[in-house]
């Protein structure tokens, strides 16, 4: 099948799956059971995966028609508005291919996982419809060749996220979270769409490749503005500070959703967008610094919050924020390849971690509070082991995926002179290791704190769920090795060189040869050490139950440290309350905003409408006053006439006199 047919299919198949399931899913499920309802969406995603793999192979291999710089297809002229014209089209190059791999693979696995995870939910068919919609949107996002089409996908992704977070809409918190996610995302989208407008007014095209090629024609300050506005969109979707607040709440959605959307794919959209527009950012170095700063700040902020969360999914959510922060930091320091590397690696291991957490939650009957877990390692071994692999990977222990990608980011930051980025990233690496093993410790090790009623029913999830776990564990272990080696000129580097080459050249990044015995070796050693330190500390406090390694949790020590003095107590509270960002936004936008809205409404009723009604009333009462001169007495009338006559005579005399 020619690529020109295959590429559209990748996106269209899930769309067809969505349309079919949305229209007929309910009846199919009611009449022929769940399997019937999920058959079509599963098949669609499966075929799309195959197609995506073929396309990705082609694109990464540089075969015709992709070549080095990718291949585009145009469909139809979407908006023909005089001079303004936007065509829909797809564009596939190595970067797209990387994203296609992550999205379709994890997507497929999550679909499979959901067969088991959602098997008892009445809205089964609906879930699959939404998932298909999401797949379509996300694939459209990575495939689109045009900023406006990207924006379309951008919003559709938001819509699917909204639908999936609010999947259990009778639960108020789910409904609120879905709304919050959509609105916060929209804040970023406003910036993005303004950026798109600025691009068009400066370049009169919205085709991404054409824009990137034409950047030289516009002045630097405009480019900076474009970069800043595009960044806004990316910040929203990738949940960077200050728009990070929606992601943790998004955990209200079913866990497969969290894995797919809020860990592996959608949140990567921002990273993808910034990477895709790397030449723009390369021409706006001050915005690059902003990107790096946002990234590092988000990384440490989220990591600090993850320390104290007790909800298993929330820990992972903050971890996601933190890892996304890494990616942004990488984008900011000009390590675009590293960012994409981390994106892919993180996609797999975070997807795995979330699916694991789902399995845990399933096992303990929808309990998400880690304080009510513990000692699960024996009861759900597959989940336990795969999750352990994921935790090791995210902690940056070689040779798992996280090690390679994270280390490349830190290394590039260090070498490009962003020492502060490196320093904070280095610190966050340790924190990551710590909170991940805190999670492992609280969940799987030590004594069981599970509700005794549930305790006997804990069992490993079915095959539909465990197989994806195992399948995801494989790339988690090996993808770093596969993509990241050899050091310095890795396979991924080779693939993405044509994409990021121009930006790297523009940004003037130093391309030092890799030196395992030199600086790079030192950095690797340092980051591995701090990760290990984090793990050890976590073991120390939260216990360990790993084969021969055993020690008890010392939770009292944790409380002692927390309560040691005012500073620590404050830090603890700050972490627990997420640095009060939700409270601040609540105050600003809900309470003060609500007050403003209410007073505007008051204004509308009483001043604007009051003026209208007031005019009516004045006219009416004028009439009421005037009718009183009609006294009913002839003599009064006659007097009125006589006075009128006198006035009239006087008037005429004046007029006559003035001639």
């Amino acid at each position: 099948m020619p690529y020109d047919t295959l590429i559209p299919l990748i996106a269209i198949l899930p769309l067809a799956g969505f349309a079919f399931t949305a229209l007929f899913g309910r009846r199919l499920q009611a009449r022929y059971g769940r399997a019937a309802a999920s058959a079509v969406p599963m098949a669609m995603v499966g075929i799309a995966w195959v197609a995506a793999m073929i396309v990705a192979a082609g694109a990464l291999g540089g075969s015709a028609p992709f070549g080095e710089h990718g291949h585009g297809i145009t469909f139809w002229e979407w908006i023909p508005a005089g001079q303004f014209s936007v065509s829909t089209g797809f564009f596939v190059d190595a970067l797209t291919a990387c994203l296609l791999i992550v999205v379709t693979t994890i997507g497929l696995l999550v679909h499979i996982y959901s067969l088991g995870y959602m098997s008892h939910d009445g809205g089964y068919w609906r879930f699959f419809a939404y998932l298909n919609l999401f797949m379509f949107s996300m694939l459209l996002l990575v495939l689109a060749d045009n900023f406006l089409v990207v924006f379309v996908a951008w919003e559709l992704v938001g819509l699917s996220s909204y639908l999936l977070i609010g999947f259990w809409f009778p639960r108020r918190s789910a409904a609120l979270a879905s709304k919050k996610a959509f609105i916060v995302n929209r804040v970023g989208d406003v910036g993005f769409i303004l950026g798109i407008m600025l691009i068009w007014t400066s370049l009169h095209t919205l085709n991404i490749q054409a824009v990137l090629a034409g950047l030289g024609k516009i002045d630097p300050s405009t480019i900076s503005w474009i970069a800043l506005l595009v960044l806004c969109g990316a910040v929203g979707k990738s949940a960077q500070f200050p728009l990070h607040v929606w992601l943790p709440d998004a955990m209200e959605g079913p866990t497969p959703v969290s894995a797919l959307i809020h860990a592996a794919t959608m949140v990567n959209a921002g990273v993808y967008l910034v990477a895709r527009t790397s030449p723009i950012f390369a021409r706006a170095p001050e915005i690059m610094v902003v990107v790096a700063a946002l990234g590092t700040f988000t990384a440490i902020l989220a990591a600090s919050i993850a320390f104290t969360q007790t909800d298993i999914k929330r820990v992972l959510a903050y971890s996601t924020l933190s890892q996304l922060g890494y990616m942004f930091a990488a984008l900011g320091v000009g390590a675009w390849t590293a960012a994409i590397f981390h994106l892919m690696a993180h996609g797999f291991f975070k997807g795995l971690l979330f699916l694991d957490s789902g399995s845990v939650i399933h096992a303990v009957h929808d309990e998400q509070d880690m304080r009510k877990m513990g000692g699960l390692s024996k009861k759900i071994p597959i989940t336990y082991w795969t999750m352990l692999i994921g935790s090791v990977a995210i902690s940056g222990i070689p040779p798992l995926a996280g090690f390679f990608s994270k280390d490349e980011i830190l290394g590039e930051a260090f070498k490009n002179g962003f020492l502060w980025v490196w320093a904070i990233g280095f610190l966050v690496a340790g924190m990551t290791a710590f909170y991940m093993f805190r999670l492992i410790g609280l969940t799987f090790w030590g004594e069981s704190r599970v509700d005794p009623a549930v305790e006997p029913e804990i069992h490993e999830s079915g095959r539909a769920m465990t197989i994806p776990l195992i399948l995801l564990a494989i790339p988690t272990i090996f993808i770093g090795l596969f993509l990241g080696l050899p050091f310095g000129a890795s396979r991924l580097q080779g693939w993405l060189e044509p994409v990021f080459g121009p930006a790297v050249a523009l940004a003037g990044r130093i391309d030092q040869p890799f030196a395992l015995a030199g600086i790079d070796g030192g950095l690797i050693l340092a980051s591995v050490s701090i990760a290990a330190l984090g793990i050890v500390l976590a073991w120390r406090f939260f216990g360990v139950d790993l084969g021969p390694l055993r020690s008890k949790a010392r939770l009292s020590a944790v409380s002692a440290i927390v309560g040691a003095n005012g500073a620590t107590r404050f830090l603890y509270r700050a972490s627990l309350n997420k640095w009060w960002f939700d409270d601040l936004y609540d105050l600003l936008f809900i309470r003060i905003g609500g007050r403003v809205a209410n007073s505007l409404w008051w204004f509308d009723r009483n001043v604007v409408d009051g003026a209208v009604n007031g005019t009516g009333r004045v006219v009416g009462s004028a009439g009421g006053g005037l009718r009183r001169i009609q006294t009913g007495r002839v003599q009064n009338y006659a007097l009125g006439i006589a006075l009128g006559l006198i006035v009239m005579a006087a008037a005429y005399l004046v007029i006559a006199g003035s001639r």
Partner: protein, 515 residues
Amino acid sequence: MNIADLPLISLITFVPLVGAVVIAFLPRNQPGAIRVTALVFALVSFGLSLLLLVGFNPTNPNFQYQEVHDWIPVFGIQYKVGIDGLSALLVVLTTTLSWISILASFRPIKERLKEYMISFLILEVGLIGVFVALDLFLFYIFWEVVLVPMYLVIGIWGGSNRIYATIKFVLYTLVGSLLMLVAILATAFSFQGATGSWVGAFDFVTLRGFAATSGFAGNLQVFAFLAFFLAFAIKVPMFPFHTWLPDAHVEAPTAGSVMLAAILLKLGAYGFIRFALPIFPAAARTFGPLIIVLSLIAIIYGAIVALVQPDWKKLIAYSSVTHMGFVTLGIFIFQEQGLQGAILQMINHGLITGGLFLLVGVMYERTHDRTIAKFGGLASRAPVYSAAFGFFVFASVGLPGLSGFVGEFLVLLGSFAYNPWVAAIATSCMILAAGYLLYMFQRIFTGELSDFLRGLGNHLTDISPIEMLTVVPLAALIVVFGLFPGLLLHMVQGTVTTVLTELNGVSAIRVFFWQ
């Protein structure tokens, strides 16, 4: 017989009138016959209007399907109708929503059905007439004709506070439109004074030509434009002339709200594009910035006020204020994309808000309440209904891929070219729109089923097939126009080019210290 030989426009316009007359002679005790007759005539008009599209030639910049008959020759007043792309679209929108509204009224309207259907068909006559009239006098007549049936529809079949609402609606509209009448007459006279002849003094094409060549005197332009502006701004409605709208919407019966939102509000915007800009270009330039500011206020203000509305319909009414703010913004930046976006937004708002009101009506039929606070958890009891409503909500939010987005984007794009800050302010409404609409959706559809709804028991059914039939065409059009806005844009390109050409090269008039 050739289609082109038929007086197609007159047929489309007056077929509903024939229907009204037929219904007047039907016996009162046969509601079925009355309903079907009304629907049939509306559908005939609809079908004919589709023929209009078939034969329309978008590349011809002139008005097509023209029909000209002398009417009051002393003043050169003619019965002159014709369409360009803009009016063609609005005519079809009108005929579409008319039959949908009539269909949607089948069940809710039980009292005085005959009068209702007659009013509705006459309303359709007036609305179509406004969009096809090419003579200012004729235009004004249709403009006012619209008022009466709407007055009755709100006043007779409306809610509890209907009389206040309908009188406010009529009076408010009348103030503006009567001043417009003065302006129309002044313009015609000014033309007569300049050319020495009444021939063409009310003819839009002639006046447009005159405005383009000699141009009307500055003070006439200023006065006449302000009068037109007031009439149109009230109809649109622009801040601060919008307060009749929430009242009228809340009190009107479902179909009344639909027509009000979908078509009546378009009259104002249509008037701006068709008459105010081409005939008074200099004055339009003079007051353009002021109107842009008002539009921005409307966009933001309407959205913020919509956030806290306790009534379902009122919320949508305020959303209309912001959406129509986009339309006026798009018009008055005098820029190609902006104008195209404004026109698109007019059509889209008709489809989307029309659909929303239809759906609100569906639920009102079952609950007889529109207080948002009483709802909750509807999605679990009426899933199909909720899905349909959700679709329209997201269309209204401006979700790309649905029609609302393209229009809004083009307006924003145009305003960005005009002034990035204007665009920035207007764009921020994207957030607010998501805010008030999703807040509403959350309160009504999600959460536990509310006590009020639970109390309704079996009365709370999901949407019925006939009700679905009323919104499906709208939904389909929303998707189609979202994906292929070119269908609309090609139609109106000629109009847009003409209007903008006339505006170019004209500079603003100095009025006191302004400009």
